[in-house]
Symmetry: C2
Subunit: 269 residues, 2 copies
Amino acid sequence: MTLFDEEAQPVPTPSRRVRALVAYDGSGFSGFAAQLQPEVRTVAGEITASLRKVLGHPVDLAVAGRTDKGVHARGQVVSFDVLDGTDLGVVEKSLLKMLGPRIVVSSLELAPPEFHARFSATSRLYRYTVLNRAVPDPFLAPTAWWVADPLPLDLAGMRAACDPLIGEHDFSAFCRRPDADADLTRRVTDARWEEAGDGVLHLWIQANAFCHQMVRSVTAVLVDVGRGRRNVADVTRILRSRDRAAGPSPAPPHGLCLWEVRYDGVRRG
Amino acid sequence: MTLFDEEAQPVPTPSRRVRALVAYDGSGFSGFAAQLQPEVRTVAGEITASLRKVLGHPVDLAVAGRTDKGVHARGQVVSFDVLDGTDLGVVEKSLLKMLGPRIVVSSLELAPPEFHARFSATSRLYRYTVLNRAVPDPFLAPTAWWVADPLPLDLAGMRAACDPLIGEHDFSAFCRRPDADADLTRRVTDARWEEAGDGVLHLWIQANAFCHQMVRSVTAVLVDVGRGRRNVADVTRILRSRDRAAGPSPAPPHGLCLWEVRYDGVRRG
């Protein structure tokens, strides 16, 4: 008797690496990462439970970006292993039936065996949405941070304040440090504000990787600049301080969305 | 002692008519109209309860379109009376604090005494959204009917099938009849499908007024045409039958949104 003798047969090993896209409205979940308490609903918890039912074996789910409680994703990427010969079309349809439309797992495809959703990723793109309008919007409320004061925010200042963030920096002032030795150096390759009309402002920010709460803290500082409470020099000063206490409280999670993960052919699995 | 002697003073009569715009995500509500059971959450119930607190007196709320359970609104219009001298800016801010962002009451303004949100309205514009895509979208799920089969729907057919609906007709085949004598004649002034990209299809339909479940039933018939299950002649036949049994079950409520109400200066209060 082994651990996996449910059908009293030799246990084949899932050996084919699969990657998939995942989109979810984070509102109803306590973040992506599975948690020990079974009563806490997480995106990973829901996906692994469904995959186990569909595949008939447990999976070890890798994920590109472990989004926080309330954070959304449109272009999250996961990877896991299946048995040789598994029909990915059937798996995708079953997942859609079990998890959709709150969690949509799509574009399942075989990947090289060394592919790892997290370690193979070369860049992540996040979008943070601010609604800068006197009156809120019931339909944007789940995905945008409503900032009514001032009208309008100083967008030119917010744009200028993106510049000091570009490049490779120690983002300790903007991140929750997981442990004393963690290296919080990240390379930000793009950060820009887009005006989408009717007071909707999107911050698009791309980096090789992000540390915990980094985009939300950056957003909070930039909106402070837009409010006239800080200026561009303050952003540089905060960044250089490497001191979390010098930074702001993070902006609310519901404005944030993991938009795209890139792999660019580089595999570090 | 009178019914309203809370401050033992003569009771002034609210005499200034106010109109306001209302937007709401209908997901959490059992429709617009207040219901007798206090445990049933309705949009009107929430607004009248808040107005009573803010104004200090009960209000009789009139509404342009009594949307069903699950139906949304961006341009709903209500009217009610306030005391002379009431600061509408303060009322609007208080309502926003009490009801926003799920229900947003805005653009409060004084209206002529004969204005009535329902009886003065000269036309209503509704939008019904269909998502015609293989994979659903967590962010559109609350406001669009996901139709995955076939891909694509026959949009040309759906457009042609709008034509028989234009004009003044008895819409008995498309409506839930409130009582045997009800006149279900309505004048549809526009009905067209808009392609919004990525499989998002909007049906825009305008009429002097709509009877109960009319837009959702019309949508269901048009989508049947898009699926190849009915043709344009069937739509004409169903309309002329004036027989509810000949029509389809209504499309789901969450794809529907009351977009705009027009008054065009005509007052029938």
